[in-house]
Amino acid sequence: MSSLLSVQGLTTTFPIAGARVPVLREVSFQVEAGRCLALVGESGSGKSMTALSVLRLVPRPGRVEAGTVSLAGRDLMGLSVPEMRRVRGREVAMIFQEPMTSLNPVVSVGAQVVEAILLHEKVSAEAARARTVELFRRVGIPDPGARFQAFPHQLSGGLKQRVVIAMALALRPTVLLADEPTTALDVTVQAQILELLRELQAESKTAILLITHDFGVVNQLADEIAVMYAGRIVETGTRQDVLRAPSHPYTQGLLRALPGRAQTGERLQEIPGRMPQPADVPSGCPFAPRCPEALAACSDWEPRFSVLGTRRVACLRRPESPVGPTGGTA
């Protein structure tokens, strides 16, 4: 099955203290239609920046230096600005973490969804309004007709996020980028929103790139997982494979540190040290300074993926099969 969204070698830099520092290094992954890839990592690992880079929304003064983003065969990086604007919202949509601030506070929620529709389709205002109300109903907003005129501050966090989802899916995009969509919500609401996303995905076969740091969320929605560390992808694979038998030492450390895994009375196992800031990432394998299996050679090793069936790992000590055409650089 050829992938819907294929990202290869994405590198994004920011100027820090005069130099161009990469915050994303050679990021590559694929998302299939109707499936969900969870991009997992700590704060600062580059997860959000990956999504922003895909949509070419990297805030100034940062920029995407290299890489291709293939959407059904078309490279988004090569598009002109007006062409890219047509892609945003219509073919690739993005939802953000904080529903509180993601919506314009002085415009009604209905009008904001209508704006999304009218930006890409030539329909009448009434038609757009009707579609919006229907979308509200579909995402589970009670009394959708009345809620059209509501202002963001009048809605709860969960309702606001439903509005955001409605807005994102209004034009039936083929790819949805979801940046920590449930992090700011209560746990019970979280489950509802994830359930909603699952339903919508099943309905329209949307490919979802789910960005999160929460393994609980991963478990509920993801089909595949990609683990990020210091701007690089260090491991990819199916959800079961990665969660049950993590290969990369970092992934192993992450899962070991989860409270659910520990035995009662045991000390929680943490990974010593901290993830480096983009400007302080060491050469070679970025995880080497903290890795329990590190060798001296790791600091000189340019990370490359080893392939094991459907899994890829970027670790010197996991050379299960040589680098091949499906591997590529990490």
Partner: protein
Amino acid sequence: MLAYIVRRFAYALLVVWGVLLFLFVLFFAVTTPDDIARRSVGDKALPRVIEQWKHAHGYDRPLWPSVDAPTDNLLVDHFRRMLTFDLGKSDADNVPIARRIREGAAPSLLLTLPMFALGLLSSIGVSLFVALFRESYIDRAWVFLSVLLMSIPMLLYIIFGQFLLSVVLRWFPLSGFDDDPAVVTRFLALPVLIAVLSSLGSSVRFYRTVFVEEIHKDYVRTARAKGAGELRILRFHVLRNALIPILTDVVMTIPFLFTGSLLLEAAFGIPGLGSLVVDAINANDFSTLRAMVFLGSLLFIVGQVLTDISYTIVDPRIRLS
């Protein structure tokens, strides 16, 4: 919301009362009617002359209320008259102050209304433009220019403007005023131009900051992700949010439309309310000064109340809470 408006008005009345009290203390206690009289008739005048002057100008009653004269004193008189807009006569030449104010209002408005409109349009226009190009050379150059423009005292603008544009280039008349509609723009053009230019620096700095802050907010990022272009974002999203603090700033300046600009009117010989104050200074005319400060304060208070109310109307977060 009605309760809020009522409360706001009530507090405004309280402040008016406070202003009147302050003015009374300042103009009657700190400097007594005797002092005022002496400034008019001379320091060495005989007590009899001073009493005569005080009687002629209505200052010959006790200052504070006392047991046997609870209402026949200057304090009660001051309050009663100011609140009924019985502004009395000028200390200098006995002309009724109210008449002078009526005569001076029109010229002042003719100066300040164009100043206000042009100033607002140009500030918002320039700051929108600069916000669009934020972080670029245009933006940095403008920020520096703003600070530069802000560092020049209004005096220098007037002197330099008059010198360059009137004396050297002879584009405008130096001063004077004629309310014949055919020629009035000629006399007003230079002062309006100078006024707009001198306030451009600080206005643009403030508006630009507001715009740029809004542009960095999350909802703008959402709009971009929807596929909206920069122009639409500015027009539809940023402007609506930014106009709220800008509106506050703008409504506050409306009262000044009436009081006129003292410097400009004095420098350009425009017979408005500003000139009235300047004349009062030169003639030691305390009663006119008192009336003008009261009037100015009243308008200011009205402006503040209007601002607060407009805020509740314009911002849905406040309106619907």
